[in-house]
Subunit: 419 residues, 2 copies
């Protein structure tokens, strides 16, 4: 029985034997003798298996006791499977249907069994392949509004919110990864940093860019101290899977309480980075232009749908201690409530721009890079595109108070490209 | 033995019998037969006894299972004694000598035994009596800088800070009191509200003052979501005791993680309110003027000493994850660090003004009032002085972004008084 043995990583050969008596897998898949198993983990931290039979398929995700991206020299607590499970339950309840169905969680084996999303593809890969994903911006905008609003003191009973804050405060190790790798390493000479040949001067310039470093510190302080809502915590385009009609959010092990703008900003950063890299992935100039326009439109849609859904929830679900209906609507002042809403949305937007600017730096100068740039074999071309993205990211982080709308950001993208 | 009986409130007669076998009291006081006990609690929540003998004296503080200010109809968890004990330990370690020495904590009886501060008097009463307390601003400024800085992610190891955040997230009930009574009730027609006759129009005006209500909601959101450091949580002038040479901070049961500006702003609010009430407590006009000038100077000194000590700690103890020495000093950019310091101090100052403005409203229109105003028997005169304080408080809350210095606030005090 699974529970009786201590933690041990699964592999394709042992998985049917070790999980073959679990009803949660047997029911959908049938007897383990008919299971076909492949390991597909391409993330930085975990093992991911797809288990298929003639009857169906499931995903088995198991945490490793170290960071896969670095190796066994970077030990990492298995508790992250616990936090991922806790987070997925909450995110799924707040935006039903947007995360995979959970079938089984085994804390000893740091293992989650969940719905196999098919024919979904990872959004990053789909966008690089030129897929259109016409509902991506809308779905992710809705997801962000619902999970961020409903996990906050604007919505939840405060005792529930505070108990949850206490629970996720235990996810120290993964928070620490973000704190170091995102907000600090890219702005100094850190051992894990790496960058494309040709970016030496850019990497050096960042380290003496006082305004940018102050912005990085300010955003780090927002991240570490502003316990506004339960975040996904790592919502890049590799943590989203989609088809033309459906969109799902996966990989929530970085979940923690933080500012709403973090999840929003990280997602937008990856759409904008994809835009900067587009010329390398879309044959001719016209198709690259179309892909770029789609990415910018997707980012704008994401924000607009987010803002509209957030406003709808603000008007209909403000039941938490920060709701303030007692000061506004209940006193006949719904315009006051709308003004307070505008203030909160402005805060989320400003934070999102700051976090996006920092995220872009860490994905080009830090440890973990993105496939859009990494797969460009011509390093001179890659460096040139990354340099533009860095200039754009700096602009976002440093001038986040002056960029009021998604359209202004779109203009900034074009400006960074010298258009 | 104390531990064997369930919780029961002490009274003067039973205290020697119930605590007479505790070495923590016996050692300083001698046998219980020689104890003299009086109950001196004048706060809103607890029993406070002074236990004296010919050998010495101690204070025994016991939580009641309800809010003393309202009565048994408002039940309240005894856990607040636990949080007070935990908080006093931490605050005492961060600014040694500034809180009373703790002798004993009994969780079952929700009871703390601590040093009897003598000849200290409660600062509120001392100021009303015209005492000078020449070191008050300096001591409280140092206390604020040390406790707020050293409890934050700028200083503490992040795992310690996050575990502490989780612990104090349990102080839900007392946080809830602040959230309701401070940030919401004064701005609506709440059952517990009360105000001086003659302030009906002012109380009504507040309820339709959209800018003020939005400020109240913004400050409430800062309070509820900005988990910057461990706060005292109720640092008014009744929570400080002093002599001419010494200053001590007591009554930390409201402790929780929140924004640095909260403790600062609440304390300043009470100094400023005392200034508005001064003419009622200081015989002739010249002595009232001198008292007012001393109060304004005390507030300015408090902030200046706070800022100077915060800067010293910033330069010498920035060891936490938000320290950022790796981005600044370690790269030879100490000016960058100074710029980041200025940004953080500006945030604390702006928050402090916002919280002070809200605190003034709740002390005049909410449930819990201050003796400076309450003891003015002439209600017409009291209402006139309170009206000025409200105008000033509104200015602080609504225009907190435009008031850059303590001197600007002093001018605002004079303006509110029509000087």
């Amino acid at each position: 029985m699974l529970e009786r043995i201590p933690y041990r990583p699964l592999d394709c050969a042992s998985l049917p034997q070790r999980l073959g008596d679990r009803p949660e897998l047997l029911a959908p898949l049938g007897p383990a003798t008919g299971w076909r198993v492949r390991e597909v983990g391409d993330g930085n931290l975990n093992l991911v298996f797809i288990v298929e039979s003639d009857a169906g398929s499931l995903v088995v995700k198991q945490a490793l006791p170290y960071a896969r991206v670095v190796g066994e020299s970077w030990p990492m607590s298995l508790d992250r499977a616990f936090f991922e499970h806790e987070a997925l339950k909450r995110l799924g309840a707040r935006d039903p249907g947007r995360v995979p169905d959970l079938k089984l969680f085994d804390p000893t084996q740091a293992l989650l069994v969940m719905e196999h999303l098919t024919p979904h593809t990872v959004v990053r890969r789909a966008l690089m392949a030129g897929e259109e994903l016409p509902r991506l911006g809308e779905h992710v905008g809705l997801y962000l509004a619902r999970t961020l609003f409903r996990g906050s003191d604007w919505s939840l009973p405060t005792a529930v919110r505070k108990a949850d804050l206490a629970l996720f405060a235990g996810n120290v190790e993964l928070a620490g990864i973000t704190e170091e790798l995102v907000f600090s390493d890219p702005f100094k000479d850190a051992p894990l940093n790496r960058h494309t040949p040709g970016l030496e001067a850019a990497a050096l310039a960042v380290r003496s860019d006082r305004a940018l470093k102050i912005a990085a510190q300010e955003m780090k302080a927002r991240f570490a101290t502003c316990a506004e809502t339960l975040l996904h915590g790592d919502l890049h385009t590799g943590s989203v899977m989609a088809t033309a009609d459906d969109t799902r959010v996966i990989d929530a092990e970085f979940a923690l309480y933080g500012p709403m703008g973090f999840d929003v900003g990280v997602l937008l950063a990856h759409l904008w980075m994809a835009c900067f890299a587009r010329s390398a992935h879309h044959g001719d100039a016209p198709s690259a232009d179309r892909a770029g326009a789609r990415l910018l439109a997707c980012a704008e849609t994401c924000w607009q749908v987010f803002a509209a859904e957030f406003a709808r929830l603000w008007r209909t679900e403000r039941t938490g201690i920060l709701g303030g209906c007692d000061l506004f609507e209940d006193q006949g002042d719904s315009e006051g409530s709308e003004a307070a809403l505008a203030g909160q949305l402005a805060t989320v937007w400003r934070d999102a721009l700051g976090f996006a600017g920092i995220e872009i730096h860490r994905r080009i100068l830090g440890l973990a890079h993105v496939a859009e740039f990494e797969t460009i074999a011509d390093t001179g071309r890659r460096a040139a595109l990354e340099r533009r993205a860095l200039a754009f990211g700096r602009h976002l982080a440093v001038n986040r108070h002056a960029l009021d709308t998604p359209a202004a950001v779109t203009c900034a993208v074009l400006a960074a490209e010298g258009v």
